[in-house]
Amino acid sequence: MMTLNAKSASSSRSRQYLKELGGAMLAYAVVLLASISWLNRHADLASPWRDLAALSPMLPAVAVLWAIMRQMRRLDELQRRVQFEALAFAFAGTALLSFGYGFLEGLGYPRLSMFAVWGAMAPLWVLGLLIAVRRYR
């Protein structure tokens, strides 16, 4: 009975996170598609409105941030430590990669989009998690 309760408490927390994150991601996808569609139909409009439309997906992205922060607060002390080590790994790793490539850009390498930062940070976060989880197994 206790085993079932523990599993249900843990899965209930996971379900809550998936619900919150899923809802926020869905809202982000909807606003992003609407924003792209609106921008395509108003290519001739003045800049401030186009800027606002381009930035509009960041509003539901704040909800993604809120869902992630709520989940972080639900974690126990070891899970938080694991996340801390993974995030520190991703933070420092992204700094290394972005500075390294920045120096190469100075030599004439192609300029990369700011989107590339997350493209580096997200896999480094996952790699950091794998390393940290293994360390405390």
Partner: protein, 63 residues
């Protein structure tokens, strides 16, 4: 630090999941403490001692 958490838990006939639920932590955290890969915080150590009705130093000792 060394600890006797695994033995204490076995005496009660609890699984790691049972103990995790009683301490409101994840099973992985119980496992890491039992394998001495992670030393719990003082509040969690007190919680463990209270649950097993003994002093902290009866469960945890220096290497």
């Amino acid at each position: 630090m060394k600890n006797s958490l695994r033995e204490l838990r076995a005496q009660r006939g609890w699984s790691q999941t049972d103990l995790a639920e009683r301490l409101n932590v994840s099973r992985q955290t119980v496992n890491a403490i039992e394998n001495e890969r992670y030393d719990p915080s003082l509040p969690l150590a007190f919680q463990i001692a209270k649950l097993f009705d003994c002093a902290i130093e009866a469960i945890f000792s220096a290497d």
